[in-house]
Symmetry: D2
């Protein structure tokens, strides 16, 4: 018997193929299907559920708001909910870090925040080109798509993508090449063919790109290069931000201060569509309404976001607990790779964005399927989908974390054993 | 004393300048600010709140769902909420009209649905060009932006917009020119410079473009031209769809059947971010994940959307009541223009998308400001913002409608009187 | 036995297929093949040989120059030959007409002159878009190609052509539409989607486009529109210039004065590669060497060009004789169409750029082949190659003209007779 | 008293500023101005006059041809002169080297040959992107411009240049980076953002780019990479070809065989505009006339080109003599740099394309000006115009070569002495 999904949902769907059940309910780190089966969630909405599913604190705030007929949809009008969000963002995030940003409420998707970031950079500088990096992922609407490296997505555009030059990311050629130096050479060289860019856009940890990590030194060098050439530095912190790296912003520890920052995914804290673009005041040269979008005032998201900030970022508790989990996760992953050649299996990543790079995507896929059979939801990333990526909720308990890692460990052993047997 | 909005919200905000109060609560056709003032809403989230603010039926469904820890964020996984939405869409919308479409859940913004529509058309045909119309509005991410006519938005892109040829919309040169004929001449002419397009994208009623209306004959002629040249016909029904025109789809009465349809705005019924792209099965050639987006599984929206469909589209009640209101609205608007030269004031539009075209944007702006002073929220559209646009909730009562129109009428008279006095 | 052309000349060759003989010698209006056959030339190097093949006056000047070891290749250095050309251009062309232009020596091809024209217009205005017309032909290098209408050429680019909006040329929709009005509406309308252009580029008579003629009034209206919107007006006079229209510039009689003019084809007078872009002094904002090209100093062409100007444009003799031939040509062509429905055969064109529009390209091709069999070289133009085009040397004698027209007339009758017979 | 050049020649002129005299006559390696002054020519038409000015053998052939009323302008019709050229090209160039190419006569400029090469590569592969290298120069019409690195030229386009990805040329990061490896990594990586290219276009020695030389191994590695990924390899041999490198083609010694080769500059041998694109038969998929151009049949150039091939390439005499001169030139340049730090002065180049790289463009400019004052015409190249480039005629005598090098040596010493004195 076919179901309604097979009948009328587009072929474009993808996660539903990996997890072919119907989910009904979720709480914390757990998902439940219509048959009552429970699944531990190491995907967390691709990094959107940093505080877990249906976080009770946020849930109560949201229920109260809805019950009271709070504004749901507000375009870019002023509302109490937006006011509370802005105040909490200022109080718990910007002020303590000494950051000075204007907040643009873009359409409530990460790609829209990136589109806005690229526009403002181009407008401020009067230049059209943008530098992006190998394996970067910034979204699939046409402007962001041009900055995204993945050919599977790029080719779907049906039109050449323009306005972006792709250069090698940190460590792209191993220790052979300081990739910032290459970029510097090309920027300094009036005949390099690299049109002077409006902006450099980067992720400090490439989530979709396969958990590639930029060193703090590399980030500082890129920032310095941008300053030298008067280029806008955009950090796309959509996946690595909101605590995923261990700090609220993924670039805090590097000590850099981007000109523009995009946030989305876990910003609402509850999985609700939300995105902002933070812009240094001197670059906030928008004319009213130049960039707009019907859902830029998703007030439900403002409510849960404001609550999330005051609940989790008013003190260091979350951050400190998280530090422990990060260490633990790293150690267990390293352990899992013991005895395997690094070309077969390698631990990778930073913060609570770590995983295992496999020889190829086929292998990584098999590991994820085995894990799912045992009740763990986990997915891959990377150019060849070769990296198994742990994106657990930040609020996961150590027990849950270990339970999930046990399942992962079994899946790795089981899969590699078969692989090695087959190869020999 | 400055407030948090002045302090840290980007200069890009626009509606908050027209309505400089802080909104707190809303119900049905009414908005309330923090001072307790009530405002009748003839903007309705720019057409997003067709069933009114915080519609009680949808609200209960949403509260139940949240209380029960239903899935909130589901990427494109299968969930009970998505299932219910798809079943209701099939049962109450597609089947009764004999339509056969696959449903793509794009990122939950209109512009994302348009980006997907353009991509699939380009991929299916292998062509890059798209024909769009003067005064069309399809969004501000780079792909949709190229199809949008408005220079204020276009210029903000900071990079030339490519891949779209703009041709005159229905009635653009008055009765002098059958604009479909011009398009046909250019398509038939191998030397016209109009690259054979993948798609023609159009709105049947141009909301942002100033309430320009295409006749049913014009729409049928465009459809026939698309068939003749094997061009994908995309109807962007984001603003005119979901009942706004008087029927669920704005193109029903014209008897055409587009290859691709975009829906958003009032689709969730509750103002929650949601968008879909409907694609004829033969064109649903997506590879899994080619177009994606973190929030394409906004299950709260699925819940309210499913409820809205079964509540309002299971029978003809809404449609019939709406027909009355449409007639009434049209008559009152026509009445308001009496005694004025059509170059000064003109009624315009179709369905529950009607308004008044003023001599210029300055005048229209004054009328809206006067109306707001008297408790009516209403906005302009058009190239010069010269059209005052009534986008009332479809569920507005006749009494509320008349109350709002009374305020509008007073604002028109007051403003034009001053205008005429100043001119004489 | 195959020959060297079949063996190693690219498939791209085209005229050699229509005239499959080997030409050896030429003089005046005549070409001679290696077998000694003579052909009357109504193609004249596609308008490059306005003074006939190997014009004796120019030939002597060229032989003298070569014998004396005059500079052949001079980059953009100052040479005596260039000096003489500039002086004669000033004396015989610009001054008498009261024109004030700076002369840019571009690469010696028409397309290069157009590329330079587009660049300077974009640089001067800071805008990227250019308006070109249906059926316009401006060359096949990527920049000019974008302004050319023909899909056969456009599609060969292998990449979308950007930066040009194509709008209907004079008379494109017959008397239904004043096409300048449409352009004006779109320029005046901030939401038309037509990005404000740097330039409007046009031919006053579309040679490759099928001998479409713009009225003087239309040209003046376009000029006025350009002035109103501060748009650079470029007249591409590559084919219609150098006397082809009956005057030196094809736009003289319209009384307009373009901001930029491109000349090539018959400029050298001897068929030697040569092109210039004339630019009003206020727009000559080039930085040294910004646009360059190895062969921009083709001094042989300067020598023959200077000689041609002093020989043919110092007085009105050529122009007066030409006026007679133009009238005669027009009358004979009109006569040829007598008795045929205008949908089957129609006289067309202006100046010494006239011809016969046939129902379709197949018919026109047959007429040309029949004419070639009888010793006349003549070719087609137009989107479907449906226009038989007489591009005789301006210096053709009346006897030669009549001889050629006799052959053409016979070919028309013969072909149409067969056509009508087949149809009945 | 101003002259006609100041009065009406465009500001774009550049060489005339460096050499502000009026040239009248030229023979062999010498230019003469109107005052009777003689100048030794180390510029040779920017590499266009490999056989010297007005080479007597070619001159006689050309005079004979003109006297006999040979076809001057032939579009792409078959002519005796074209036949002779094709036969000689086959006999003296292609056959002896075992090369199999189809010959496309493009418009007679290098940029046009490059435009044709890019088009055919895009059409054959169905891909839009092209890989070009830092400091590459391929022309300034829009298609070639996109592949050219120089910002001075790029910025003059007034529109973003699309369809080309620029990657580091051989040796760009010194010995730190094997640049082919970087290109390989990006081609192998489905997420690099480098769209799979239709073609790689390169110069084996970058003339305008500053005499950068690719090693034979690097060239072979690029060729292998192209084969592996089924990418068309285009060698732009416009400046380095026709003997300039020491062999007819600059890539012969590397042992590679490009899919497409562009030739121009010295192809006619006499400085006449001429260009061809050589295409491997399997890629010669042009439809007739897809790429065209009025002057693609410049028969005067065919005559001198045919003569040049049979005179200079029928045996090894030229090549052998040239080898001696190349060695001599290299030795003398190396000698000139003795005693200077390599950051101040460095010998550079390959074949008869060698020169001196100075610390900066200002210094190189001073050297050239000093040399000109002493009767030597020599110019710079490179991103900062920092390389003094010896492009002597291949036919220069050893005495002339030494005379020119003496002047250069004095200019170097004189200029550097002042420089060092000023610095200390």
């Amino acid at each position: 018997m076919t179901n309604i999904f097979d009948n009328i949902e587009s072929e474009v769907r993808t996660y539903s193929r990996a997890f072919p059940v119907i989910f009904e309910r979720a709480q914390g780190s757990w998902l439940y299907d219509t048959e009552g089966n429970a699944y531990l969630d190491f995907l967390a909405g691709a990094g959107t559920l940093n505080y877990g599913h249906n976080n009770p604190v946020l849930k109560e705030a949201l229920l109260d708001y809805i019950r009271a007929d709070g504004i749901t949809h507000g375009l870019d009008m002023q509302t109490s909910a937006k006011q509370a969000f802005l105040e909490n963002l200022q109080k718990y995030v910007l002020e303590p870090r000494g950051y000075d940003y204007m907040v643009q409420f873009t359409g409530p998707t990460g790609t829209n925040a990136v589109e806005a970031a690229l526009k403002i950079a181009r407008n401020v500088t009067g230049r059209h080109n943008v530098v992006a990096f190998t394996n970067g992922f910034h979204g699939v609407s046409l402007g962001s798509m041009a900055a995204t490296g993945n050919a599977h997505h790029r080719d779907a555009s049906g039109i050449p993508l323009t306005g972006v030059s792709h250069v090698p990311y940190a460590g792209y050629m191993g220790s052979d090449l300081d990739t910032v130096k290459l970029l510097e050479s090309m920027l300094d060289d009036a005949s390099s063919g690299l049109d002077k860019p409006a902006a450099v856009i980067l992720e400090t940890i490439q989530g979709e790109g396969g958990l590639n990590v930029a060193s703090y030194e590399w980030l500082r060098n890129v920032e310095a290069l941008c300053r030298k050439h008067e280029i806008i530095l955009i950090v796309d912190d959509i996946q690595a931000g909101c605590g995923r790296s261990g700090r609220f912003f993924s670039f805090e520890e590097a000590g850099i201060q981007p000109d523009v920052v995009t946030l989305s995914k876990s910003l609402s804290g509850y999985g609700l569509p939300f995105a902002v673009t933070l812009i240094k005041p001197e670059y906030d040269t928008w004319k009213p309404g130049e960039h707009n979008g019907t859902f830029r005032g998703n007030n439900h998201a403002f409510v849960t976001a404001a609550k999330a900030l005051e609940t989790y970022w008013a003190d260091d508790a979350l951050q400190n607990e998280l530090a422990e989990k990060i260490t633990h996760l790293g150690e267990r992953l390293k352990q899992m790779t013991k005895g395997y050649d690094t070309s077969l299996l390698k631990a990778k990543g930073r913060g609570f964005m770590q995983g295992l790079e496999c020889r190829n995507g086929e292998l990584a896929g098999k590991i994820c399927r085995r894990a799912f059979d045992n009740g763990l939801i986990i997915e891959t990333s990377g150019a060849d989908s070769q990296v198994v990526k742990c994106l657990c909720p930040l609020t996961i308990t150590l027990e849950e974390l270990d339970k999930g890692l046990d399942i992962l460990q079994e899946a790795v052993r089981h899969t590699l054993q078969k692989e090695i047997r087959a190869a020999s």
